[in-house]
Amino acid sequence: MNDTPIHELMACPKCDALHRARHLAPQERATCARCGALLIAPRVRSFLHVVALSFTAMILMVGAVFFPFLKISTQGMSHASSVFEVAMAFSEGWLAPLSFAVMALIVGLPVLRFSALIYTLWPLANGRPAWPHARRIFRLADQLEPWSMAEIFVIGTGVALVKLAGLATVSLGPAFWAFGALIIVTALKNAFLSQWTIWDAIGQS
């Protein structure tokens, strides 16, 4: 390993084991020899796939925010709310910062992440050099991943529905289905991402 040039070496981020990185054929995967973490997984045309899925996710998010989300009715009374109103549930008094946080977790950060991915990968997918600050922006997208919680929100909706069952009738609006589709698109997009391959492409451009 001593005679390998330093730019061909790679350290596992989970256990620090040193590996020699080589170009993999599409569909090949490299895992860490010690801890088994996935290191490199290139996929054919994966950049374009990620860009397309991110665009789809953005469009779904617009629908999810502006269409009616849930509607409740009981004893002749009814009330509908959008996702925006759900976030604003905490807006009274000193709970207000939580409203902002909820909006960020379910809408703001996912949108920021999709935009960052499109910004980084669009030029690369077209074989052009990366746009300015692509490195910082892609790293931001990476760091935001655990904080974008749209899928947790959808499961939360399910729990809320069961809690209300018996008390009132709740109907699902188009925004709910947009959210559901959004988490499927997001999962697909994450499956197409390969950090090492993208960093290589940004570095070479």
Binding site: C12, A160, K163, W196
Partner: protein, 212 residues
């Protein structure tokens, strides 16, 4: 998970006098400050990073206490007002035979946060003291903590949805309680604690610098 892999034969970046970038994987000579490829700050494999883990951990634990003492929800139905703490809500769901939802809320709001505090503390103590490398068991525990921690936020979203939706004037109205804020803070702080934990420490064998 590959129990019989020969772990001693695997060289680490640290052994080779290199620091690996935790963001993109490239290695650089030890002492380099920033990764030349992705620009991330290079973190050497070092136990001093555990201080940040403990700081976030303690802050998260402090926020978790009021989250359990104060009400999460205030429900007003036909003139009656009722408040529910996290555990109170679980008990009520259970009493109404909603066993599945009671289980989900209990797991997300009680079981996961409590096990997460224990698991992070255990990992931080283990890599701080242990005389041998922790190996796959500890890495698995770390990955579970990282993966599952964010799901505790589910209860905050449930409170938000219920409070926004159930606004039926005199018939029924639900308002969020102060516990929602401290619970959300507690989840965020423990996520930061888990993120500051460096899993590469798990594999460091007997302390080389400190000696027995």
């Amino acid at each position: 998970m590959g129990r019989n892999r020969t772990e001693l034969s695997v060289p680490t970046a640290r052994d080779a006098g290199l620091t690996g970038c935790t963001s993109c994987g490239r290695v650089w000579p030890m002492g380099t400050e920033h990764c030349g490829r992705c620009g991330a700050r290079l973190r050497p494999v070092d136990r001093s990073a555990l201080q940040a883990v403990w700081a976030w951990w303690a802050a998260g634990l402090i926020c978790y206490i009021p989250a359990n003492l104060y009400p999460m929800l205030r429900t007003a139905t036909l003139g009656h007002e009722q408040t529910n703490t996290i555990l109170g809500g679980v008990i009520e769901l259970f009493a109404h035979h909603n066993y599945l939802v009671a289980a989900i809320v209990f797991i997300a709001s009680v079981l996961i946060p409590v096990s997460k505090f224990i698991a992070i503390a255990y990992l931080a103590l283990a890599v701080g003291n242990e005389q041998r490398a922790g190996g796959h068991r500890h890495l698995l525990l770390y990955e579970i903590v990282e993966f599952i921690g964010r799901w505790s936020m589910i209860d905050v979203f449930v409170v938000a949805i219920l409070s926004a939706l159930v606004q039926l004037g005199a018939v029924a109205a639900i308002h969020p309680g102060p516990a929602a804020v401290s619970f959300a803070l507690s989840v965020a702080l423990t996520m930061l604690s888990a993120q500051s934990f460096d899993p590469r420490l798990i594999w460091r064998g007997p302390a080389r610098t400190e000696g027995p």
